[in-house]
Symmetry: D2
Subunit: 242 residues, 4 copies
Amino acid sequence: MVRVTVWGENVHERTEDAVRERYPDGMHGAVAAGLRQVLGDQVETRTATLDQPEHGLPQDVIDQTDVLTWWGHIAHDQVEDAIVDRVHRAVLGGMGLLVLHSGHYSKILQRVLGTSCSLKWRNEGERELVWTVNPAHPIAQGVPHPIVIPEQEMYGEHFDIPEPDELVFISSFAGGEVFRSGCCFQRGAGRIFYFSPGDQDYPVYFQPEIQRVLANAVTWATPRTRGPVPEAPNAPRDWYLT
Amino acid sequence: MVRVTVWGENVHERTEDAVRERYPDGMHGAVAAGLRQVLGDQVETRTATLDQPEHGLPQDVIDQTDVLTWWGHIAHDQVEDAIVDRVHRAVLGGMGLLVLHSGHYSKILQRVLGTSCSLKWRNEGERELVWTVNPAHPIAQGVPHPIVIPEQEMYGEHFDIPEPDELVFISSFAGGEVFRSGCCFQRGAGRIFYFSPGDQDYPVYFQPEIQRVLANAVTWATPRTRGPVPEAPNAPRDWYLT
Amino acid sequence: MVRVTVWGENVHERTEDAVRERYPDGMHGAVAAGLRQVLGDQVETRTATLDQPEHGLPQDVIDQTDVLTWWGHIAHDQVEDAIVDRVHRAVLGGMGLLVLHSGHYSKILQRVLGTSCSLKWRNEGERELVWTVNPAHPIAQGVPHPIVIPEQEMYGEHFDIPEPDELVFISSFAGGEVFRSGCCFQRGAGRIFYFSPGDQDYPVYFQPEIQRVLANAVTWATPRTRGPVPEAPNAPRDWYLT
Amino acid sequence: MVRVTVWGENVHERTEDAVRERYPDGMHGAVAAGLRQVLGDQVETRTATLDQPEHGLPQDVIDQTDVLTWWGHIAHDQVEDAIVDRVHRAVLGGMGLLVLHSGHYSKILQRVLGTSCSLKWRNEGERELVWTVNPAHPIAQGVPHPIVIPEQEMYGEHFDIPEPDELVFISSFAGGEVFRSGCCFQRGAGRIFYFSPGDQDYPVYFQPEIQRVLANAVTWATPRTRGPVPEAPNAPRDWYLT
C-alpha cells in the first residue's frame, strides 16, 4: 500500500469555467482518480491544495506521504517557502516526488534540481507523441510506444535541467519540437520523476496511458527507506567497528 | 593540429550512380572536406576505405590517428574482426571515435557499447530537425537550434544503446518519430560520439551546420592522453610511495 | 519467485585442497546457498559450471533464468564464444547478470561493458571495508556501513569500466587503495551488477552481509520485461497510429 | 586567458594564529598563488572575501569572472542570500564554479546540487590518498595516482550529493573511510567541480599536486558560452524556420 498525496494549485479550476467543466473534481481529483483506477487497493490517495492551511501539507500529512505529486502553474510564487523547505526535507529523507507539466517552474523542482527549469512553449493544441527511450524502465511498463495525445500544449527544448539520472520518455509535437518529457532524478534518498504531459486546457489526465505512467511512477518513487535529512556527523576513528 | 582518419565503406559510391553523382569524392571525401572547411589548418585528414589492404587501417595509421570517423552500411560484416580489435584497442587507449549514421550497426560501435544498437527506420526523404538539449556542450557550439535537414532517412526510437554519458542532440522527423541523434560515450581513455544525420541518399554532409557538428566532435574527441590498453597489474603494498 | 542460475568456473575447487575445504560445495554452491538463506522461497537456484556440456548453460536453461551470476578466474579463455553470445543476447533481452570478483575479466563482462575491465590487485589477505555511497539504492538495503571483510584480495583503481549508471559501493583496503566495488549498468533490457568482494582464498561468500548484497542485487536485476534482442525494423509512416 | 575570482571566507585566518601563520596571505591567497604557479599567464586571479562589501562579489566582478572558486567553513550562514542568488544565476549562465573542502556546506553548493551535502568527518590529521578513477579526464592530467596528503581532515561517505555527472577522484583515509573527493556537475551552462582536499589546519593548498588539480579544474570549468539564465519563451509555430 503506497500513500500518495496529490497536490493541486486549484486556481484554474476555480476561476475558469472551461477548466472546471473539464476537471469537475479539480485536476488533483483527476490525477488521484487515475492512480486509483490503475493501482486499485495498492494505493491510498489524498489531495491537498494551495488554498488550504499550510497548502494542505502540514508536517503530519508529509510524514504520512510516501509519494507527493505536484501540479502548479500560475501561482508558484504563492507557495510559502516554509512549505517548500518541508517538502524538500521530506524528499531528501526519502519521500517520492512527481512533478507534473507546468510544475517545471515550481519552487520545489527548482530547489531539488538547482536549475531554472525553463523551456520553450506554445499553446495551440498540437498533437504530442510520447516515445519511450528506455523500454525496460519500470515507469515504461505497459505504456504504448508512442502515447498519442491528440491535443496538448507544446513544451520544447532547450529544457534547462541537469542531465537526468535516467531518461524514459521523449516527446515530439506537431510543430516539430522535441522535449525530454519523462525524466528521473534522485536527490538524497528521494526519487523524483518529472512528466510533462497534462495541462488545464486539455483532458490529458483522463487518458488511460497517462494514468498508467503516473501509476508506474508512483510505484517507482515509493521509498525504500525514510529518514531525516543527514547532518554532518563527527566520526571517531574506527567508529564502524564498535 | 588534430590528425583525423575518415573511414568510409565506399560501396554505395562505387555501385550506385546516384550516390556517385552526389558524392563524387566518396562520402569519406565529403566528410574529410567538411572537417577541413571548418577546422582549416587545425586538422589534417586522411581517408581509408574497406577495399584497401587492412581496410586502410594498418597499425601505423591507427597510431598516427587522433580521431577516427566511421561510416558504413551494407558491408559491416566484411570488416575483419582483427581490424575491429585494433580499432577497439586504440579507442580504449585514447583515440577518439566518431560513428556516423548507419554506422550504428558497425561492429566497432556494438563492440564499444555492448548493445545491439538497433533502431527503427524509414527511408522516405523526411525533414529532420536536430535539436540541441545541452547548449553548453562543446559539440553544440555554433550550431543552430534546430538544424533543419530538408530530406533524410528517418531513424527512430527505441535506439538500443546504453544511457549516453552526455546527450547533446535529439532529432524529430516529419512523421513524428524522435531519435537521440547526438550521443557521447567514454570507453577506456577514448571519447566516442555517435551522430545520426548523414546518408548516402541525401547530401547531408555538405550542410555547413552538419560540418560544424562533426568538426566540434573531432575537437572534443581529441585525446588528452594516449597509451596502451591497461593490463591488470600486481601492485605491491605501498607501491605508490616508491 | 525469481529463478537464479549460479555459474561457477569450478576449477580452483577441484585443483586446490585449501579451496575445496573452504568451499566444499564449490563457490557456486556457497553463492547459491547464500541466496536461499536470504531470499528463502522467493528464489529458486540452480548451478552450472564450466566443465558441463555447454558450460551448463544450454538455451533452455538460459530461457528459464531470470538472473545469472558469474564467477570465473583462471579459465576465462575456456568459455566458448557461442555461450558468451547466448548469455549476451539474453542480457540484452532482459536477463539480469551479476558478475562477481575476478569475473571482472570474464568475456561476458568485457562484452557488455566494451572496456578492458583491468584493475590493480594484490593478494595479501588485507582487510576490506565496503562503504555505501547510495544508501537509498535497493541493493544497499539492510547492508551495514561499512561491511568489514577481515581478509580479502585487494582490487584497486584504476578500474577500466564505463562510468557506472549507478555507483553503490566503494571499498578501501588496509594498504590504502580504493575500488568501485558495487557498480550498476543497464545494457539493452538487462540489468548488470558488478560486485568485487569474494575470492577463492577467503570465505567471503559465507558472510551474511555479502549474502545480503547478492540477494538484493538478484532482486534488483530481476527482469521487468523479457524478449528477443531487437532487430532494426522498417517503420512505415504513421505505423504507430494503426 | 581565464579570469578567476578566488573567494575566501577569511575568518580562520583572522582569528586563529596557527592558521594565519600557515596561510599568511589567507587561504584565498594560497589558492590564487597556486593557480598562477601552474597556469602562468594563462590565468588572471583576483580574490574576494566575506568581510568586503557584497562579499567582494558585486555584479561587475561576477560579470568579469570566468571561474569562481569558493572556500568557506564557519560562516556559511553569513553569506547573504542575494549574493548566492547572483552567483547561482551566473553559474546557470555559464560561469565555472569550484567548491573546495568545507565549502560542501556552503549555500551555493546546496543551491546548485539540491541536496544536504552532509558527510562524515574527523579532524585528526590522517593521511589522505587521492586516487584517480577517470585517468583520461581533463582534470586528472598530470596528477599522480595517488596524490599523498600527509595530514588532512577526514571526510567520509555517505556524502549526500546527486550522482555526479563525472567522478574523477576517490580518497581513502588512514582510518579506512572513503570519499568521492573530486566530482563534476553541470547546472545550466555552468560547470561545477567539488574537490575536498584542503583545510585551514593543514598546508594542503601548497602541495603542487593539489595546485595542479585546481588549475586543471579551472581550465575545465572555463565557459564555452556565457549568457543570461533562460526564461521560458513562447515559441510561435515554425519559429525556427524564420
